[in-house]
């Protein structure tokens, strides 16, 4: 117990790093994923194809391989990277960690959004076109609001997965929750105490994220609730993720299943 209390300040520092990396990757990933999802549905194969290849690569390979490919793999080209002034970034584990997680979540999010965009009823798009909307206006007013609502549950899962996936940055020497726990465990030999504490911290973070995202979902679907019936949700349900993929098509199917 004492060892846990002794390491607690450092574990909290680790938690802060975990949160930082998660937020950075989620925000940048979302910003990149929106245009990619649109490009993925482009009528031109020249545009569609590279985006598809990018998404397929990042969804089809383990995150650990991607992380090593960027962090260690960049060392093979350090000469070239140095000559363009990028080596200072690629030398940093922090930069490589955030870059990998961002690219990874971009691919998953883009695919979730693509699925959602495709499930927007065609009639709504036709109606908007008939009203004279097209291009960005059509996307901004009709397609995106609808698609985001459809994609939200699957996107929630993706964010939770990313939060847990950040634990991999401990392998490339970063001191996030897992990194701190691992270092403390090998120093004090308090293996299960440390890892259980780390697990509990992740559990708290995950359910905090889930709580916030369920709240947002509740707000997003306000117009779909029968008037005066449904009360505010008190606690977030530990939503089963997998059956969504099995039961419904489109949006949720394209997420990282579990």
């Amino acid at each position: 117990m004492d060892t846990i209390l002794d390491t607690l300040p450092r574990l909290l520092d680790g938690a802060w790093l975990t949160i930082q990396i998660t937020v950075l990757s989620v925000v940048i990933g979302l910003v990149l994923a929106v245009p990619l999802a649109v490009l993925r549905l482009s009528p031109w194969a020249v545009v569609r194809w590279p985006v598809h290849a990018f998404i397929f690569f990042f969804r089809g390979t383990p995150l650990l391989v991607q992380l090593f490919l960027i962090y260690y793999g960049s060392g093979q080209f350090n000469g070239a990277l140095e000559s363009v002034g990028l080596w200072t970034f690629f030398r940093e584990a922090y930069f490589c960690g955030v870059l990998t997680l961002t690219l990874n979540t971009t691919a998953y999010t883009a695919e979730i959004l693509r699925g959602a965009l495709q499930t927007v009823p065609h009639g709504e798009v036709e109606a908007a076109r008939a009203c004279g909307m097209r291009g960005l206006l059509l996307y901004r007013r009709i397609l995106f609001p609808k698609a985001f609502r459809i994609a939200w549950p699957a996107y929630t899962n993706e964010v939770i997965f990313l939060l847990q996936a950040t634990s991999l940055v401990s392998i490339i020497t970063l001191m996030d929750i897992t990194g701190v726990a691992q270092a403390a465990a090998s120093r004090t030999f308090a293996f299960y105490e440390m890892y259980l504490t780390a697990a509990a911290m992740y559990l708290v973070l995950v359910y905090a994220v889930l709580f916030v995202f369920k709240r947002i979902e509740y707000r997003l679907t306000g117009h779909l609730r029968p008037v005066g019936v449904a009360p505010e949700p008190t606690a977030p349900e530990p939503e089963p993720a997998a059956p969504q993929a099995a039961a419904t098509q489109g949006a949720s199917q394209d997420g990282r299943t579990p």
Binding site: P62, L64, G73, L168, P240, A247, T257
Partner: protein, 229 residues
């Protein structure tokens, strides 16, 4: 052509081990999933609560932490308990067993949800009809419920399999010489990390592509009696 510096055989061995770990973990995960789904659908509140705790906890803890916990934590926990009772034991878990047990345990929770969803998708009337024909509970499960659950569970199981396969890369941190670990060894020895991690990535990609084909074939086969699916 890319020069593998003689590490091709090592990578191939790693590839085989990755497939083996994946299949073994999936088998365990399916067994745990069926047990978990049954537990979630029983009338007993205690058992339902246990199953809910299982899926809730697994969903909230990163796979890496879980693997470290099982591989390093469980032996020390057993030793500590043994010491408390006045015994002196040394426990070492084989990394293959630890890896398969952990990955199977984690994805068993996801399969629980898949099977629960599949069970609920089978129309209730069919079970009632089976009972009305005089079939016992086990016979109903074997002849009516399970065959149809298979059909509903397949898309979900396919997804779980593909995520599971990628998760096996994490077992490399506990020194199991699967594909990821093998490429790490080759990358360090040859000082060509990019080449070898890219090859590893392409091998995982190949596994994903083959899995997708198999899944499509299985789904087409499972749905052969259905109209317009």
């Amino acid at each position: 052509m890319i020069d593998l510096h003689g590490y091709g055989g090592l990578l191939l061995d790693g590839f085989k081990l990755t497939v083996l770990v994946g299949v073994a973990s999936m088998a365990l995960a399916i067994a745990l999933g069926l047990i978990g789904a049954t537990a979630k659908l029983t009338p007993s509140a205690t058992i339902r609560w246990l199953a809910a705790t299982y899926t809730t906890v697994v969903r909230g803890v990163p796979e890496l932490v879980m693997i470290l916990l099982v591989y390093y934590g469980v032996p020390t926990l057993i030793q500590d308990i043994a010491t408390a009772f006045g015994h002196d034991v040394r426990v070492d878990i084989n990394s293959f067993v630890a890896g398969v047990a952990t990955i199977g345990f984690i994805y068993g929770a996801f399969n629980t949800e898949v099977f629960r969803g599949a069970y609920l998708a089978v129309p209730r009337g069919q079970v009632e009809a089976a009972y009305a024909c005089g079939m016992s509970r086990w016979r109903t499960a074997w002849r009516v419920t399970l065959p149809q659950m298979w059909r509903y569970a397949l898309p979900g199981l396919g997804n779980v399999w593909m995520v599971l396969l990628k998760a096996t890369a994490l077992i490399s941190v506990i020194e199991l010489h699967e594909l990821m670990r093998a490429s790490q060894v080759a990358a360090q020895a040859t000082r060509e990390p990019f080449t070898f991690y890219l090859i590893a990535a392409l091998m995982y990609l190949a596994l994903t592509i083959v899995s997708m084909q198999v899944q499509q074939w299985l789904e087409a086969r499972a749905n052969r009696g259905m109209e317009g699916v």
